[in-house]
Amino acid sequence: MENMITLTIDDRQVTVPKGTTILKAARSIGIEIPTLCHYELKGQGVENRPGSCRVCVVEVEGKSNLAASCATNVSEGMVVRTNSLRVIMARRTVVDLMLSDHPADCLICPQSGNCELQKLANDLGLRDITYSGEQSKNKVEISPAIIRDENKCIMCRRCETVCNSLQTVGALTAVNRGFGAVVSTSFRMNLEDTSCVMCGQCVQACPVGALSEVNNTRQVMSAIANPRKKVIVQTAPAVRVALGEEFGMEPGSRVTGKMVTALKKMGFDYVFDTDFAADLTIMEEGTEMLDRIARFMKGDKSVKLPIMTSCCPGWVNFFETNYPDMLDIPSTAKSPMQMFGAIAKNYWAEKMGIKREDLVVVSIMPCVAKKYECQRDEFKVDGNPDVDYSLTTRELADMVKLLGVKFEDLPDSDFDKPLGESTGAAVIFGATGGVIEAATRTAYEIFTKKELGKVEFTELRGLEGVREATVDFDGTPIHIGIAHGLGNARKLLDKVRAGEAQFHAIEIMACPGGCVGGAGQPYHHGDFSKVEKRLQAIYEEDREKPIRKSHENPYIQQLYKEFLGEPCGEKAHHLLHTHYFDKSEKKFGI
Amino acid sequence: MRKVQSLADLQSLRDEFRAEFCPADVKKVQVKIAMATCGIAAGAKQVMNHMVEKSKELGLDIDFTQAGCMGYCYAEPTLEVSVPGRESVVFGYVDETRADEILTKYIQNNELVEGIIPVNYETTD
């Protein structure tokens, strides 16, 4: 076998394909080598292995220096020791050095309990710092969504790799040399002034507390505690398939009912579902899509195709920064979260007799960028935002932990009505391809005036970074493009911009896997199989829903009848649609 | 300048340039001044300009050329003087006064002046 290599690791023989690293060869036979900078999103084409932290060093016979196992490929007959005293001492020294230049405020660090450095120090039994000395004094920055504490940066470059390679955003880079080297922004600008789109994948990737989301749990609890305020909450579809992980449950566990119970226990006055607004989004976006396709087919030159989804705030920031020439292409429909806020603070508040300023809308999102989105000026009325606070799945878990309940033993509860009713189409918003599939279910029936035989469009599913599919609308082929991860989005968009690809509609999600892989989800520490399991759970949830097409949601139908009128009508346009801004100057940091 | 066409062409050019730059029998006094960064920093350029002027005044016909580092950092500026019929001599610590002495004493009268540096290396040619 020409392409197989046999080597010995800790006295055990192992045969692996040529090109395998020592690290992977060792793991294949259950030998665990600790790592820190190594970060791989399997299947997403992203691997950070600068070989720079030097935690994974091993002894290779015949080599004078220790080798970084993550960056050294195996060779025939190689003899490796992963746990010799030389290796252990070196590893401890390396981590000791990291700790010597790391703030020791673990008790209140946002990463406490999730910190890979903390775990490593513990695993290596480090109980004091041998090589203590001066600590770096760098920038601490609080942006609308992300907090950067450069003092905690360990230069693993994971954030830099996801920001540059996965997302092609290019906001983060190593700056300075020597002891002063740290990952920062160019010219050490604030994130908001850079090309950063607040997608938060850097937060998801950061092994320590150098990058974290802005924490809003205290404000939310204060609002609940305030008797003058009515506090309502909406939960995004991807949250319910990931929250359980924070309580030791298997990835992909569906905990919708337990989540609702917990939210009620917390004291939210009403627990609603963003899925309701997702159905609403389909009504608006689907209608807009059909209208644009129909006019385009009639030869209306003022209409541009493809229409692109606009529910992902990271994606919106991305095209505003990078594709200012294409601002007329995305759907003008607001994101489900913002539609929910608009309906809650107008229709529902009025119906309930609650004054706008007394209503607090909280959203639970798998997302970091939502924190930024809800603060955008166009989503405020007289300074009062439609959505007051957006919490991540992780923040929700933190709040649930305060209840002192055993989460997995909580009984199930239902969402409150009317803004808690949703269809299977809304649930799949949490997966890449889900929004366009949901839109297709509705658009097909409206366009063809026929009922769908099979509601599942499996051709739109999968984890391939860029996907293309053609859906037959009863004789009319509709070309659909899908991308998840902004690097993939860029590939697709560049093709569209260059006129090399013709699509009717495109769905884009900023995070790999869609919202299930969102930056606000429980840390997966580079284990992408967790994201895949959440994705499966999303489709299971859809299958079990009695109604699976958005336009069949009775509460949505009632909302149009009672309040909105027609989809994309005047009122709907005013409340549920938005516009975009040219933010290309941020690309150059001017 | 025309383009070199072949090995033979290069050889003939070499012979032509040799006659110009390093003839077997030197007919003219030659002064080479070490003009690497360090030499220039130590004043080699001023010394060269001065010598050019001074030699005109004295009516001496001398070829001045710049060269790279001769290696005697401790004695910059340094220069090498080749007078027909004599072995070439390297002088170090050359300031304007010593430059004058080199012209009037060594070149004109074969009288050595202070600052001679015995060449302590062999050059491969």
Partner: protein, 598 residues
Amino acid sequence: MATYNKHILVCGGSCCTSGNSAQIADNFKSTLAEKNLSNDVQVIQTGCFGLCDQGPVVKIMPDNTIYTHVKPNDVRRIVEEHIEGGKKVEDLLYVNPITGERVEDNKEPNKFHKKQIRIALRNCGVIDPENIKDYIAHDGYMALAKCLTEYTPEQVIEVVSASGLSGRGGAGFPTGKKWASSARAKADQKYVVCNADEGDPGAFMDRSILEGDPNSVLEAMAICGYAIGADKGLIYIRAEYPLAIERLKIAISQAEEMGLLGDNIMNSGFNFHIELRYGAGAFVCGEATALIHSMEGKRGEPTFKPPRTSEKGYNLKPTNVNNVETYANVPIIITKGAEWFSSIGTANSKGTKVFALAGKVNNVGLIEVPMGTTLREIIYEIGGGIKDNKKFKAVQTGGPSGGCLTERHLDIPIDYKSLTQAGSMMGSGGMVIMDESSCMVSIAKFYLDFTVPESCGKCTPCRIGNKRLYEMLDKITKGNGTMEDLEHLRNLSVVIKDTALCGLGQSSPNPILSTLDNFWDEYVEHVQDKKCRAGACKDLVQYEINPAVCVGCTACSRNCPVEAIKGELKKPHQIDNSICIKCGTCITKCKFNAIRIK
């Protein structure tokens, strides 16, 4: 008017001066005057002959007679027997160290006492670097022409391999092997890169070559391009070398004008173009992968190997990277042959090495010696010995990556292997000589002070570890070190070497390890006795005025910038060490040597 027919050259180098050569010169003058020969024979003092172990040295011109071990009372014999009698003084004649014979005429070959052979520097100081004709007159571009017309690319690599030439940038990787690897790699585009990012403190070998003989590097790069199948060359040069850049630009345009670079060189069908790329002067960019990242417009930091740059280099294409001095050796290897080159040097290191000799030697300079030359020969014969007759203490080679060697290493023949075995390394060619006034702890600290900010900061051991090493050294030089610190210093140094990503970190602790090994007592003194024997660590020394010597001239107290010196006129002064900042001004101002450091 004098019309000299003979010159008597008396060595005025410091070794010979200490051997009373001034007296010898005076004796010559008086003896000649006595014999009325003053107008026929000139006596002149010269610089160092480099025969320091045989001094004082006298040379009679134009006879080319060298006399060694000359004493003042030998002068009369030389004048009477040689100058007047025309007969050489047999027992004073220079002895050929190889044959053991006494040499009467040292004109040609005058090689025996010349410790230096200039190969890489062969044209430096000889030709006009701004005129390609001068280079051609010295066989320039003949090697390229020979390769293009007589050799296949494989044969070129064979010659380079057989010559035993190895990388002069420091690591000593066999050049032929490197070229062969790039030649083997298959790609639509390959590159030849010249690393002119000379960064060791005090090293200027490459700059001197580029300033003195830029064409030799261009020619070598073209030869390399022919050998590996590349048509593009890039010179990565630091922007702080404006003269080298200027001369390279002139050389490139002249070579292009003459068709020695460019398309279809000498009608061979071979194309080769060279461009300059400027570095901002980051030490780490001398590392090949970091250099390539820098040229690509990326952050200048190394990446792990493999892949080597010969397989995936600039723009991920096969790229041969050699440094300036390595290239400068290539043309002459082609013209004179591999055998000639490999006959110079030692069994495992061939050819010569250029060093920037600096520090406390008399003749600091740029030298080129055959591999196998000893440190003693370099310091005492070429360097002319230690300045001010002080005692030799250590020699530092290899720059910030190297180590300090001592008296007991002086007779080791220098090559890549021997220096590494001794605890230092060849490096790119910095060589700093230290005397007893150098504090070895401070020396180690000096190099770490350089390495800490020059680390790219990528890997943990180099980014943080070097900083910690520096902090410990700083603590020791300030008198706050403990014996535990010395243990930590060694342990951390070992781990940094063992775990760092690139050559910078893998060698940055060397100055510490070598000084710990060779000067352990000095470290212990700093820690336990709070004493710096060299008097270099300000916090560990006190200035004192010797009352027996001080005459009370007030020069010291008038010049003390912090008014730490008190005393009445004409009475011994005192220094208040609680105020004194140890600037040393008083010592330089005192004409009576009354102030000492204890």
